[in-house]
């Protein structure tokens, strides 16, 4: 058994891997929240429920329609995004000019509805979702065993995060989006259809949650509660990172996953709470968040 300074390396790297995987999901969800917050100035409380919806959509597609994992990976985010677009258009937009706390409460209500419906339909115990054939097995590295599917999650979600970052920071579409964040009235005056951009942005942010759900289905069991638990952690991450920067949200998500993984190895009792404790530390030392821009 490989040990270094009395540390079991297999165990350590194993938890580090779990941390990176969790971090990938945190990053995807935090990214979605940050994109939506940037333009709409609302916190989407149903982000966790839509992540759960994505996982269930993948599970149901395979179970009832024989749609395999790869098609789900493409279609489910689109479907969840479309669901989000309907939500934005018919529920959120009518109260867009009210206090933003109302939209928080509205999306919380939607989260309750979704979670309640799936709990009634499927019970609260989890459903298994098989790892796709192509990604079964794993690679034996000198210090650990790396299952292929887990490697895939990390590579794929980081690629999605990087592409999203590139799209927002470096392309013309991203420039519109950032301009809309700064001054929507002026942009409208330039003849750009701001409400359309808002709707599409919301759809995209929500689609990221759906994508995370599909990715998560084979590693976690698909259950109605999977969304609410992760969402509260992602909220803490968003407080830690601040929502001022897209890159900040991604980095904080990954870093917190790793910290959580390390805690699981060194002091498992605190693994559930370590991210919240980091949040407390950040609030004490840098209240605006690590990447926060506000005063």
């Amino acid at each position: 058994m490989a040990t270094f300074l009395g540390i079991n390396l297999f165990g350590l790297f194993g938890q580090l891997l779990v941390g990176l995987i969790n971090g990938s999901f945190y990053a995807l969800l935090a990214l979605g929240l940050a994109i939506i917050f940037g333009l709409l100035k609302i916190i989407n409380f149903s982000q966790g429920a839509l992540y759960m919806l994505g996982a269930f959509a993948a599970w149901m597609s395979l179970e009832y329609l024989q749609i395999n994992y790869w098609w789900s990976l493409l279609l489910v985010p689109i479907a969840v995004g479309a669901f989000g677009i309907l939500m934005e258009r018919f529920l959120i937009r009518p109260i867009a000019n009210e206090d933003h706390l109302y939209s928080l409460l509205l999306t919380f209500g939607i989260a309750l509805i979704l979670q309640g419906l799936f709990t009634d339909w499927f019970g609260s115990s989890g459903m298994p979702y098989a790892i796709p054939e192509e990604l079964k097995g794993g690679t034996r590295l000198p210090f650990m065993y790396l299952p292929n599917y887990r490697a895939w999650i990390i590579v794929f979600s980081l690629t999605v995060c990087a592409l999203t970052w590139f799209m927002i920071e470096k392309t013309k579409l991203g420039a519109y989006l950032r301009a809309g964040t700064e001054n929507p009235q002026l942009m409208q005056a330039f003849g750009i259809n701001v409400p359309l951009i808002v709707t599409l942005t919301y759809g995209f942010g929500v689609g990221l949650a759906g994508l995370a759900g599909v990715l998560a289905a084979p590693v976690y069991s698909v259950s109605p509660e999977m969304g609410s638990n992760i969402l509260i952690v992602v909220f803490a991450i968003v407080v830690i990172g601040g929502m001022g920067s897209i890159g900040g949200a991604i980095l904080t998500g990954l870093a917190m996953g790793v910290i959580e993984g390390l805690t699981k190895y060194f002091y498992p009792e605190a693994s559930n709470t370590v991210i919240f404790l980091v949040m407390v530390l950040v609030l004490l030392t840098k209240p605006a968040g690590l990447f926060g821009k506000e005063a």
Binding site: I42, I43, L91, P94, I95, E98, H100, L101, Y102, S103, L104, L105, L106, F108, G109, I110, A111, L112, I113, L114, Q115, G116, L117, T119, D120, S228, I232, V233, F235, A236, V238, V239, E269, N272, T273, F276, L277, M279, V280, L283, L284, P287
Partner: protein, 307 residues
């Protein structure tokens, strides 16, 4: 004069109520009404949305439950201990939460509440998933046996009135006026020289202590303290009660709590028993979309328009 008469009528109804309704149901309403009133002090009068208020309810319940179960103390001391601990947690959490504003405040309070939730889940004294069962009600001041539901009801009613009056006094004091000023225009309150964060913190502690009072009392009523009391769903529920009843009104949270508890009791025995969360969610969506002033707020508007 008119208001005084109305208050006497309401008090009379509250005293007569256990002869018409099941006392345990009424006590549940009173506990949640106090919880919602405490929450409303923050949301309705300072404009702070705390999304982790269940932690104060549940902490009060756990502390009182634990002390009553393991040490033979009288219920008023058990409640006092629960309130104290809730207030202290409120002080620490409030200090952290007031560093952020608006939506961040809601997320910080939710995350802080989840921190303690995991602590209670793992701590040995809470009984984990089973919770604390069979909490004795004890004898009030060592004299009055509370095991009888009717006696207990009047005790709970007295506690509710005390809590309600504390909130009423707070809102109608100069301190309360400053809170409202912060709600309406925080920047102006700062420019007038008020230490806004200190006022927010004080309101937060009062609210936490009263939520703890509701939780301690609830633990005695149901002789139970469980994880449900500290779960985020409970935090959402109290938001809904306040929103439905009318935030920023004195009686709104009471009416909202009564409606929600009544609705849950009604649903629990019907065909929709499995859909309670769904129904709560639907009520949430309807309230936000069409009913933002709540029952009391809409009623006030109606009266203003027609009389």
């Amino acid at each position: 004069m008119n208001n005084k008469a109305l208050n006497i009528v309401i008090l009379g109804l509250a005293i007569a109520a256990p002869f018409a309704f099941y006392p345990v149901f009424l006590m549940k309403v009173l506990c949640f009404a106090l919880f919602a009133c405490a929450f409303n002090l923050l949301l309705g009068y300072v404009g702070l949305l705390s999304f982790g208020h269940a932690i104060f309810l549940g902490s009060g319940a756990y502390i009182t439950g634990h002390l009553m179960l393991n040490y033979s103390i009288t219920p008023e001391l058990g409640i006092l201990a629960g309130v104290t601990v809730s207030a202290l947690i409120g002080l620490v959490y409030g200090k952290l939460a007031v560093r952020r504003e608006g939506i961040y405040f809601a997320m910080v309070t939710l995350a802080l509440a989840q921190l303690l939730f995991f602590f209670y889940l793992q701590a040995p004294f809470t009984g984990g998933e089973d919770g604390l069962q069979g909490v004795p009600r004890g004898k009030l001041f060592g004299l009055i046996d509370l095991s009888d539901n009717l006696t207990m009801y009047y005790f709970v009613l007295a506690i509710f009135i005390i809590g309600f009056l504390i909130i009423y006094r707070t809102i109608h004091s100069p301190f309360g006026q400053i809170l409202k000023a912060i709600r309406e225009n925080e920047a102006r309150a700062v420019s007038l020289g008020y230490k806004v964060n200190q006022y927010k913190l004080q309101a937060f502690v009062i609210s936490a202590a009263l939520a703890g009072l509701a939780g301690s009392t609830k633990a005695l009523v149901f002789q139970l303290a469980s994880l449900n009391d500290v779960h985020w769903f409970m935090s959402g529920e109290v938001v809904l009660m306040t929103l439905l009843g009318g935030m920023g009104t004195i009686w709104g949270p009471v009416l909202g709590a009564g409606t929600i508890v009544g609705l849950q009791n009604f649903l629990a025995s019907g065909p929709l028993a499995n859909y309670i969360h769904v129904v709560m969610g639907v009520v949430f969506v309807i309230c936000v979309l069409a009913f933002r002033n709540g029952l009391v707020g809409e009623l006030q508007k109606l009266i203003k328009k027609n009389f």
